[in-house]
């Protein structure tokens, strides 16, 4: 088998008697935007959690750049360049926006105590990099106006955006967004999708979980459909929306 950018093989997550993700095999090509969809309880978020190490898979493997990442802890997977956002918004509540992004840039920062205490040149240089990266992210996410606002005082939509900003600071090669626009108003939702497109242009590969079908159909290069933990379809938005099994999975509803 060729070396894909990212792949899972027979990924399975079992909670007692319930199989939440069932022998899920799929691939992501570098540079694409791929969406994972399915009815409620299909196992999308569980698959996300398994990929990012928040849940240990019961079976199967996860490969990234030809390396086996199965069973690693979340922070180790993050170090490999797979960064996620969460369905239930997670921010650092008592921390200002700008500082939050800096906290996200942990990977590129100098963590040696000796270098820090001695204020070494290397430390200064790296802190400058962190600062520059933070500035960049404030610009691309249009959060600059809110730079000194505490995360807990942001609107819901802004918190979701901050979550993406913090994830970006961690230099993702593959960014997993769990329902990034849920709870956003149409205007915020549209600009977030623009942001995701822009990120792809910068070379970040994106895996989306999203409920809003119009959004998914519009932005995705490819769609993977899960139902009861199993992959039931895969293909371009057009192929998937015409797929009989997919239509049935969504209780016979049309997908437009």
């Amino acid at each position: 088998m060729k070396n894909a950018f990212f792949s899972t093989e027979d990924l399975t997550v079992q909670f007692g008697g319930l199989i939440a993700v069932d022998h899920f095999t799929f691939e992501i090509q570098e540079g694409e935007i791929i969406s994972l969809i399915g009815p409620n309880g299909a196992g999308k978020t569980t698959a996300f959690n398994a990929i990012t190490g928040f849940i240990k898979p019961s079976e199967g493997s996860i490969r990234f750049f030809g390396q086996d990442l199965t069973g690693l802890k979340p922070f180790q997977i993050a170090k490999h360049g797979i960064i996620r956002t969460f369905q239930q918004t997670k921010v650092f509540p008592e921390v200002a926006v700008e500082e939050s992004i800096r906290m996200g840039a942990h990977k590129i920062a100098e963590k040696g105590l000796m270098a820090i205490l001695a204020n070494s040149l290397r430390y200064q240089k790296k802190e400058k990099e962190v600062l520059e990266r933070t500035e960049q992210i404030l610009t691309v996410t249009s959060l600059r106006e809110k730079a000194s606002v505490l995360a807990k005082n942001l609107s819901y939509g802004e918190q979701r955006l901050l979550e993406i900003a913090v994830a970006l600071a961690a230099e993702p090669k593959l960014l997993l967004c769990d329902e990034p626009v849920s709870g956003m108003n149409p205007e915020e939702s549209r600009s977030t999708m623009e942001l995701i497109r822009a990120l792809r242009k910068q070379g970040i590969t994106i895996l989306l979980v999203e409920h809003d079908m119009s959004v998914v159909m519009d932005i995705s290069d490819r769609i993977v459909v899960l139902n009861y933990g199993k992959k039931i379809a895969e293909g371009s938005p057009k192929e998937v929306s015409g797929n009989q099994e997919v239509i049935e999975a969504y209780l016979g509803g049309s997908l437009k």
């Binding site: 990012t52 928040f54 802890k73 979340p74 922070f75 180790q76 993050a78 170090k79 960064i83 996620r84 969460f86 997670k90 921010v91 650092f92 509540p93 008592e94 921390v95 500082e99 800096r102 906290m103 996200g104 942990h106 990977k107 920062a109 100098e110 963590k111 105590l113 820090i116 205490l117 204020n119 430390y123 802190e127 962190v130 979550e163 913090v166 994830a167 600071a169 961690a170």
Partner: protein
Amino acid sequence: MKSRTSFIGYVIGIGVVALLPVVIRSEYDIHIFVMVWIFSLLVIGFNFIFGYIGQLSLGHGAFFAIGAYASALATLKWGVSFWIGLPFAALVAGVFGFVIGMITLRWRSHFFVIATICFNMIIYILILNWVSLTNGPVGIGSIPAPSLGGMAFSTKVHFYYLVFLFVLGALWFTKKVVSSPVGRAFAAIRENEPLAESVGISAYSFATLAFVISTAMAGMAGSFYAHYVTYISPEIDEFSVMISILVMVVLGGKGTVLGPVIGAVIFTFLPEYLRFAKDLRLPIFGLILILGIVFLPRGIITLPRLIRSRWSDKR
């Protein structure tokens, strides 16, 4: 502009504290101050795990005791000087902290609290019963005072400056660390652990690091205590010491650089100024502490900011 005013603030603050022994004539007051500085070292350390990581260790009294005994025994049994005893105390307490942290910080929260309480008890019982090493309940006396180049730190004023210097060093260290990426990792873990992990921060490693810093400082404080008071007994590991530390940090402002020291000063001096109340002294003290924590939940250190914001609201 702001950094300049705060720099002037530091200089004035340090100057005032440095001149205090000249102004204060009473030996007793100087003694209380020395104790305040020793406790400051202890709470600055405790603040790393409790304030910055957000994990409550109720075993810090044990690390204080470990440092005191390690330093006292090293100077008495091996005849080394205090200047070896002090880092040795930090090392021994830090190694204990590392091992305990490695085992218990994997789970954190209430598990960690209970584990540290148990550790505290184990150390207390060990000190009490390992008579051949610790002299048991009788304790260890005649612990030598430090000396430097022939000059002995024998008076209270000497100790005042010696410990104060280390408090300044500890504050500098804290400031440096918490405003660095390491401090940002600490804050990330405290604020939202899953999010911290998702950007590549190992909560386990950084919590353990904070705990080692924290326990090593407690060990240093213990060493100073032993060589200042010149007598130690298992009493120094009693649980009331632990509660005092906790109140100092919460009262002053946890997770801030200066808060714990302010807490230590107020917690130690307030009962002294309440002597006029005679029997009601401790109840009044308790009431003030409760009011302080209710009205300033983030500590006394937030008081100036609060007043300033009220002031600007009114205008």
